[in-house]
């Protein structure tokens, strides 16, 4: 018995250490958000009724984030499929290319976008010919959101598709489907919840984007830029209600995501 006692004590100490460490981290994450919401949450929701600029910024944020997400779903899902099924010969390069925007500081991403799509750039000139201006426009907001958040969608969509056994498609192909039709009729619905979750993550990330957008398009203002604008122009008290509304809005996709994950079932159970 005596030989086991030190082991038990050290086990208890380790458990206590793990619990304390976890609680400390959770406190660090929760404290600022809770303080913000408790102090200004109600004020922010109340301000929605009287502050037309705030309502406009939120509406613009929702519209541009939705558009950026839709464009990414259309263009990114086939890419995610090719990556998931190892059908891209240069997959490691493509993977690195997709990871890069996630690693860049977001103002740097904004500068890169400005260089590539600004008025003086060849791409900017070409877009201008179609009446599209990237700088200071909704297009710029969508582009910035897409640049920083699309990799999140592609990565999560790739995982969702990879979880669907490719033999479902094999069976569908022997039943007469082309590979594209089999992916559409079988893999898409089976990966559906995962793809939706990926889109929700991208949308939420787009809503919260600030660094890249502020470089490309200060005006019209999305909610994050409005919050920053009020902080620098009118002080913390003026910025807090806007910030609190953004936090409350962020909870919506978070809840959607949790619900999707809780009910996610991909593929046939192993037998």
């Amino acid at each position: 018995m005596t030989t086991h006692a030190p082991v038990r004590v050290s086990h208890r100490a380790a458990t206590a250490g793990v619990v304390a460490g976890s609680l400390l981290l959770l406190l660090l994450l929760a404290l600022p958000i809770a303080t913000l919401v408790l102090r200004s949450g109600l004020a922010g929701l109340g301000q929605l009724g009287v502050d037309a600029e705030l309502r406009g910024a939120l509406w613009l944020t929702a519209q541009t984030a939705t558009l950026a997400t839709l464009i990414t779903v259309v263009l990114g899902t086939p890419l995610a499929y090719l990556l998931a099924r190892d059908k891209l010969p240069a997959a490691p390069i493509v993977g690195a290319l997709l990871d890069l925007p996630l690693l860049l500081p977001h103002p740097v991403a904004g500068m890169a976008l400005l260089l590539a799509f600004g008025r003086a750039s060849p791409a900017g000139v070409a877009l201008a010919a179609f009446g599209l201006a990237v700088v200071g426009s909704r297009t710029g907001i969508v582009l910035a959101m897409l640049f920083v958040a699309a990799p999140l969608y592609v990565s999560a969509a790739r995982e969702a598709i990879a979880r669907v056994d490719p033999r479902y498609e094999s069976v569908a192909r022997t039943l007469g489907d082309s590979s594209v039709r089999a992916a559409w009729r079988v893999t898409r619905p089976l990966a559906g919840r995962g793809l939706l979750a990926a889109a929700v993550v991208m949308w939420a990330r787009s809503v919260s984007e600030f660094g890249a957008i502020v470089i490309l398009t200060y005006n019209p203002k999305v909610a994050s830029v409005l919050s920053y604008d009020r902080f620098t122009g009118e002080g913390l008290d003026a910025a807090l209600p806007v910030a609190a509304v953004l936090v409350i809005l962020a909870l919506v996709p978070l809840l959607v995501l949790r619900t999707l994950r809780a009910s996610a079932v991909s593929g046939e159970p192993a037998r």
Partner: protein, 348 residues
């Protein structure tokens, strides 16, 4: 008709190499081999869902090696049914069908008719396989590839499904290639047995020939031959009136007369059921091998028994009925004579 010639394909790190065989139209081929032998890869390459990196696949006399799966007219059923979980049973069966009446007909034949409105998640293992078979047959393919479809099915359903499958195969002249680990299935269903190991073809022959005359000692052991002896084969003395290929095989202190194609044979294979036991030597017999031994062990499995006899320094296993054990008084330590025909001693 299914013919493959020098077929090679990759499945991750695994490689199927240089597989050649031909299965006539309307025949039932059995694919055997240990796990990782390449059985599923072979089926998938024939179906066209896996690309062949070398060789040729010929179906119905036409080269289809570069033809996509959807144009090959081949049905496939995996061990795990891979029913589409977002569709009902009926929608699964009708997925590739062109004729709604035939969907109902095939569902009825295979016993899936009462399940039509059910969700696939609510089906038992046997029901899933039943639906998967119906789904594969609904587009009326003339070639069916089966990857252990009955492995997870209860014995009663397995017998019924096997009977229905055999009936459908005969009625519709289906050419079937069937991966199985069940040697009983191989014996009862197969016209041709194909043995794979390590991605290579070991032997393709009628099941009886495959089990009686395996190409190698490893093949014999995989196929469940109870007795595989290592030794040296020599031609019998000149002047004897033996049939071609009769040789003397020495394994330790044991000598056997058997059949082989060359003196390079290094193993003798004897199936347990070909060993006849008697308490004493009987009179003249056509059997060329009569070996004196002592019973070492008797293991009874239901109606059958495996009796191990020490023949000098070699253990010989005989498969007999449990009734014979008591009739012959086979107890450990009792003396016994094991008689084996030369034709039952396969040298390889």
């Amino acid at each position: 008709m299914i013919a493959v010639e020098g077929l090679g394909a990759h499945a991750g790190q695994f490689e199927l190499r240089d597989v050649t065989f031909s299965l006539p139209a309307g025949a039932w081929g059995i694919v055997l081999g240990p796990a990782g032998a390449g059985k599923t890869t072979l089926l998938e390459t024939i179906a066209g869902v896996r690309r062949a990196h070398s060789g040729r696949v010929t179906l119905r006399g036409a080269d289809v090696t570069r033809l996509p799966a959807e144009q090959r007219g081949v049905g496939i059923v995996y061990q795990h049914a891979f029913l589409f979980p977002h569709l009902s049973v009926e929608a699964n069966i009708a997925y590739g069908a062109h004729d709604r009446a035939y969907v109902a007909d095939i569902a009825r034949r295979l016993g899936a008719a009462p399940l039509m409105s059910r969700a696939v998640g609510a089906l038992s293992g046997g029901e899933r396989q039943m639906v998967a078979l119906a789904r594969a047959l609904a587009p009326r393919p003339d070639i069916l590839l089966l990857d252990e479809p009955l492995a997870a099915v209860d014995p009663r359903s397995r017998t019924r499904l096997r009977r229905e499958l055999r009936g459908l195969q005969r009625e519709q002249s289906l050419t079937v290639l069937h991966v199985t680990h069940d040697f009983g299935e191989a014996g009862t269903l197969g016209d041709l047995a194909i043995l794979l190991e390590g991605g290579r073809l070991v032997q393709a022959a009628p099941p009886e020939a495959l089990f009686r005359r395996p190409a190698s000692a490893a093949a014999a052991e995989f196929l469940g031959a109870e007795n595989v002896f290592a030794g040296i084969a020599t031609p019998l003395d000149a002047g004897t009136e033996d049939e071609a290929g009769t040789m003397l095989f020495r394994a330790g202190s044991m000598s056997l007369v058997g059949l082989g194609e060359s003196t390079t044979a290094t193993h003798a294979v004897i199936r347990g059921e070909d060993v006849v036991l008697s308490p004493v030597r009987t009179g003249p017999s056509s059997a060329r091998n009569a070996l004196d031994g002592v019973v070492a062990e008797v293991v009874i499995h239901g109606a059958l028994a495996r009796v191990t006899i020490d023949i000098g320094d070699q253990p010989l296993v005989a498969a007999v009925t449990a009734g014979s054990v008591s009739e012959l008084g086979l107890l450990p330590g009792s003396r016994v004579v094991a008689t084996i025909k030369a034709t039952a001693v396969h040298l390889c």
